[in-house]
Structures are given as structure tokens and as C-alpha cells.
Amino acid sequence: MSEAPVLLVEDDPADVRLIQRAFGKLDKNVPMIRLTNGDDAVAYLSGLAPYDNRGAYPIPSVVLLDIKLPRRSGFEVLEWVRRQQSALKRLPIVILSSSRHSVDINRAFDLGANSYLAKPESISQLDELASQFQAYWLGLNEPPDLHGEPWTGRPPGIHHV
């Protein structure tokens, strides 16, 4: 089975080009699927047509999600994912936005974003971001099981008296 891709949801073609170029420079190839709006992201994650072939459109390992998107915003996508009853709800989502406003940052964390990265202003910073993103979110971080049952009970090993 091939490696789960990173799902990039970004509408700005110039940003996409820069992000893909930065990830392309990494030693290890990071498969990336790119979508341009929030509705497509939800359709993809739901496995709805035209994304109904999980072989071609697998569940991503991490989502890199812009906030300002056409149709459904990044916040709405995030909210939708966390509302799911399936294990999909624990999908790691990293916001990548040009907004540094605390109202956006707070909202993202309140809605359950795993991390919030500001879009860099230089190529070298973007290269560094890509390399650190890969090292952390595709390496160091232990990913959740996205295919299993959602956890509903008490934390394992904990007994309330």
C-alpha cells in the first residue's frame, strides 16, 4: 500500500506552486493531493464522487488547510471533520494561513486544529517549514488510527471511584 498523501487545500495557485516546490525539494518524496475549495475537501474526505475511489483518493495522513477558501471555508471544513462520528474526526489538520490575527488562531484551536502555521514570507522560510512539517507531522508525531472505531468510552486504564 502506498503512503497516505498530504491533502493540501489551497485556492491560490501561486501559493500552491510555492508550497509544492518547497515539498519537492525534500529528500523524501511527500505525496500530495491538492484541492482548491472547502466543498471539494469535504467531498474528498467523505469519499463522494468524483473522489469515490479510495485507491486513487486515499484518506490523507495530514491536511494542510488554508482558511480563506471559496465555498466552504477552512474553519467549516475543520468543524465538519471534528463533528464526524467515524474515526475520521481525529484526522490531523494543520492550518496554513496568511492570517496572523489572534481571532483566527483562537478559532482554529477552538475548533480542534492540531497546529497553526503562518504562511512564510520568503522561499527559504517556506523550505524550512516544509522540512519541519515533514519531520514533525510525517515523522515524529504518532498518527491516530483513521480507520478504526471512534473512541467513545472512558480513557483506557482509568477507573473512577
Binding site: 474515526a87 474526526k89 481525529r90 490531523p92 496572523r100 489572534s102 488562531i105 483562537n106 482554529a108 484551536f109 477552538d110 480542534g112 486544529a113 492540531n114 497546529s115 497553526y116 502555521l117 503562518a118 512564510p120 522560510q125 524550512e128 517549514l129 519541519q132 512539517f133 519531520a135 514533525y136 515523522g139 515524529l140 508525531n141 504518532e142 491516530p144 488510527d145 478504526g148 471512534p150 473512541w151 480513557p155 483506557p156 486504564g157 482509568i158
Partner: protein, 200 residues
Amino acid sequence: MSEKRLATILLVEDEASDADLICRGFAKAKVVNPIVHLRNGDDALAYLEGVGQYADRAKFPLPAFILLDLKLPGMKGLELLQWKRTRREVRRIPVVVLTSDRESATMDAAYDLGANSYLVKPGTRLRSSALWKQFSVTGLILTSRPSLLLVPRLNTRTQSQVGSFPDAGTGAHQTSRLPRPCRRAAAEKDLPNSNTLKMD
């Protein structure tokens, strides 16, 4: 506003040797933020709640993020996560779980309870070097381009003091000596800006 204070990192870890390695890892990664080290879940809850000996938010500011062991004396890490998400004022503080527990049930429970990230401590064999490396990376992603990782602000009166991570390249904070030791909050009378503490 007067001088911005560096955001605090809260480390909840009962193993002294692990805590020491973690702090050294952060220091190696040039993380200059104050690290408050608590050794059990009950203390962490009291700290986040701002009660008891931690009632003074000026001395014990809410952390920018929490590094949480799961196996703790008293309240367990997962219970702390469960409690934390019911508290509006601390709910959005990001939590990085750091544990030796590789059970997928535990991992999934941690994510479902709102953990932002889950890291597994390396085994004992290569412990020191591997953990050190892990934390260099963790530290790097958190601080080498601090302006790129943004942490939520907290709706408390001390908000402006908590601040965000300062720019790594500039600023007076960079002049402070590295490595910086962890502070054990319970043992310290005066936590913030205690640059005078010596290593170990």
C-alpha cells in the same frame, strides 16, 4: 504595555530523568521560553485552574502549550485532557502528549480527547540520544521560526503578558544564557524571569 513576557511551556512529567532530558533537548534546540515542570496531574490541574499555590497568574501564567505525560501519579494525563476541554479558559491551549504508551487505544483516546499531537518516548536503549533528537525537532518546529507557529491567546487579564513566541533572530531574550533549566513551580517562590537559576 511594558516588556512582553516569553510564553511559558508547561511540562507535566513525573520521571525526573525524562524531564531533565526534555529540558536539555529544548535548551539544545535554543528554546528560551520558561518551562514550568510539574510532576503530577493534580498539580497540573491546580496550575491550569489557577488555584491554591498557583493562584497568582502573574507568577504562574497560563502556558502557551502543554507537554503532557500520560502515566502520572494522581490524576492521569487522559483525565487531565478530559477535564481541560470542559474549561473554556484553558481549552484552546495546545497539548502535545509525550508518553511511552504505544497502545493505539491510548493514542486514539488522546486524540479524541483533544490532544494536538502525540509523541512516543524512545525505548531505554537509545534513550538519551534519541529523546534529545526528538526534542530538537520538536523545539525547532516550535521556535526556530517562531513567527510561523502561532499559539492561541488566552482570554485572561494576563493575556498581553503571555504573548507569543518572540522572533528568534532578534530581541533581548536571545541574550539569555543557554541552556535554560526547567523550573519546578512548586519549589519556586518567584517563577518568571528567574534567569538567575543555575543549571541542574
